[in-house]
Symmetry: C2
Subunit: 474 residues, 2 copies
């Protein structure tokens, strides 16, 4: 049972795959694994998309390993798929044409930290939490937080963002340079440690969000920030989604540098109350975080409280006590589990869209109406400062009728966002699941350009085939 | 007399050019101009690079005009060069292979302003000052300020930035979407009005900084900011460039959200004193601007003053009075004229490099030493928060020996920045002048990738040939 995958590239010849596996086994010994269990672990299982395991998995330890895998695969026309932690949501790590998965679990070193320059150089398998653990003593942190403890290579490849993006930007704004293995195994350096540059085409941004389809990232230079002196958390309930959105717009317009501003719709608050043993009013809720000096944070909180009051917000509370902050944000971080607990045994599919913030209230409200009409259950959480929100749709995957309504819902959600000058995905990426929406969003000419770039940089189509760029028929 | 241009693409056949001019004259009437004076105005005259005028200039009024120019030129293999205000600094608007220049002077409309969403849609000929004039009543502004009153299309094409980048980012962070005319005259839409997106390859960023070599931008959707409640200007003199740089690093590390932080070296201060009738101490100077609420700005100023004190800064003064602010910043904006007045009749060439901020003091100091050794005069101003600085080199263009020393100086400046993990240009772009440095900075593989992309998106090489991508021999 699964969402239709329409772009199924041709599988490599079994003889070619066998030759590649033999050569890689000789090179990597027991770091090449072909057991079914490991192959299945590396295919995509967190969505409705069908799992498509690779033929083999190599655990890389250094860039030279990746170069060798790419060279062997290229010689035989066998696909190469990069794998971080497997938390992507649109089938990015599936292997529809088979091939070799390169697992970056062991390429997890922080190579250099330049605290004065607010940057560091890392291997792609470093995870977000491990990185911040490593950095803490030096008074700096990496702000992008997509929820999952994803690898930085994967986060760059899907152009991830999350709760902090409203203040600190997404992966797009926080990667300075990449080292990328190209189709013949040689290495492209896309930039330097300079904070800005006008030197030639922006290769860095071309590989960010390319989901491993143009080459394989083996090193990242990323921006860091100073750990704020004070962090305050706040919560504020609203009569309506519209009031919460209006408060967000006003806060951003007046320049309150809010670090996080998350919307939970009434149904999500209900789920969190039940799961996290809270007693929040079961109406739309904004969860906020302010960063800065003590005086800063106090002023930001005061200013936001005034705005919230004008927009029908009530019961605004804020705190700088770490234990209170943690409690509040833990509920947000557990939102997925809270949804899952609403209907044990059902599948949960997370999908995301992003619209101009002035249309967010319309988009969320119409989406809630659609859920009622289709008799579906999907709490909503939103990175409301960016106009980005997620639906966590609960469906019984064995109930064909409900699944069909679920697909209709998701289809209509994307079309609604696009009709409001928004995008079919703010942060999850295209992968396999959203290829059919690219043309409607950007037009055939943009797809042509993407195809031409793919052909130019990966003429043998060995890098993660079947992702992002739709099949020629679409 | 001029800096060597090494990449000279083959000129279009005179017959082809004649055919294009005839067709465009029929289509555009007196909006097609071939007079020598107008052609020369559209070639590059603000640098040491030799001027290379186009064969004709078309004054476009709408996207359809650009589409028609491109179609006619493509049919005959004749180059098309986009022209904003002609303030680029590395030969970006030169026409080394001849061709048709498209002047965007008359495509200067603000098409939509979405104050709630903090974005607007504009034509490429809108200039920075005209845009902010237009926006003022709505409480929003566009923060990128490269000094010159450049057009937004040109600013996007060279990935411009300037004095506000330390807080608000560069053009890279402030363009949401572009409309681009491709080689067959069709239009590529690169994005939507959503603040963030993971939908496919990042075409927007590929065209930003492409200097018109991959297509021609005919519409931009850009990000705006709320006009800050209070703006304060400050100045602080330092014993040494190192002290000024150290204060900057500490300010950024501790998260003071300074909006502008500009370094003037002692020689630049001297030039400004003389030109702008000021009496600043003739030692390294930081000029700052703080944006925020009144309380915010006061706190930022106080915190910075403390840091400056620790780093050998003295005489820190700050003010929110508009007339005092203007006086201070006027001196900075007139820095170029102040340099010119130091030696009337000499040529001034502005060049820029950018290094990790921890290396900035070394880079500036070594550059000052080099100037002494080479008996050259070049005041230095720096967007010090980004590690980016400019030399305004004064040379008698008729003195071959001095010019040779000037070229040596600029060459060594770039190599110095690159050896410190920096870039040959932070914001001026590659154009013609800096192609020879790209390979040293990024390696042959990055150049290969740029060539492959150019070939994929502009197979006929009609878009601004001879720019960015070095000739195959380099």
């Amino acid at each position: 049972m699964g969402t239709t995958i329409t772009n199924t590239p041709k599988r490599a010849e079994p003889k070619a795959v066998a030759a590649v596996v033999e050569k890689l086994a000789a090179r990597f010994g027991n770091r090449l694994v072909t057991s079914q269990a490991v192959r299945e672990q590396h295919a995509h299982t967190t969505t409705w998309l069908q799992s498509q395991p690779p033929d083999a998995v190599v655990f890389a330890q250094e860039t030279a390993d990746v170069q060798d895998v790419v060279r062997v695969c290229a010689a035989h026309g066998v696909p190469v798929i990069a794998f971080g932690t497997g938390t992507s949501l649109e089938g990015q790590v599936n292997a529809p044409a088979g091939g070799v998965c390169v697992d970056f679990r062991d390429m997890n070193k922080v190579l250099e930290v330049h605290a004065e320059d607010l940057d560091c150089v890392i291997q792609p398998g470093v995870t977000r939490k491990a990185l911040n653990e490593h950095l803490r003593d030096q008074g700096v942190f990496f702000p992008i937080d997509p929820g999952a403890d994803a690898s930085l290579g994967g986060m760059a490849s899907t152009r991830a963002s999350g709760t902090n993006a409203v203040r600190y930007g997404t992966m797009r704004e926080n990667v300075l340079a990449l080292k990328v293995v190209r189709g013949d195994g040689e290495i492209i350096n896309t930039g330097t440690r300079a904070k800005k540059s006008s030197a030639g085409y922006d290769l860095t941004h071309l590989f960010i969000g390319a989901e491993g389809t143009l080459g394989i990232i083996t090193e990242l230079t990323i921006r860091l920030r100073g750990i704020p002196e004070t962090i305050a958390a706040a919560a504020c309930s609203f009569d309506s989604v519209r009031g919460a959105c209006q408060a967000t717009i006003m806060a951003i317009q007046t320049g309150i540098p809010v670090a996080r501003i998350e919307l939970l719709n009434a149904e999500q608050v209900k789920a969190c109350n039940s799961y996290s043993k809270l007693s929040l009013p079961e109406t739309p809720l904004l969860l906020l975080e302010f960063h800065g000096s003590e005086a800063d944070v106090a002023e930001q909180s005061k200013n936001f409280a005034e705005i919230a009051g004008e927009c029908g917000g009530g019961g605004f509370t804020w705190t700088t006590r770490p234990e209170d902050r943690t409690k509040l944000w833990q509920a947000r971080h557990d939102a997925y589990w809270a949804v899952k607990a609403l209907r044990p045994g059902a599948g949960v599919v997370a999908t995301d869209v992003c619209v101009p913030i002035s249309r967010l209230a319309d988009c969320v409200t119409e989406t809630e109406d659609d859920l009622k009409r289709l008799r579906l259950q999907s709490p909503i959480v939103g990175h409301v400062g960016d106009g980005n929100f997620h639906c966590s749709l609960l469906c019984d995957v064995d109930d064909a009728a409900e699944m069909a309504r679920g697909e209709e819902f998701m289809h209509r959600l994307v079309e609604r966002a696009q009709s409001m000058q928004g995008t079919c995905t703010g942060e999850h990426g295209i992968g396999q699941g959203k290829q059919k929406y690219l043309k409607g969003e950007l037009g055939a000419e943009a797809i042509d350009a993407m195809r031409a770039i793919k052909q130019a940089l990966d003429p043998k189509n060995i890098f993660n085939p079947g992702k992002i760029v739709p099949a020629p028929s679409e």
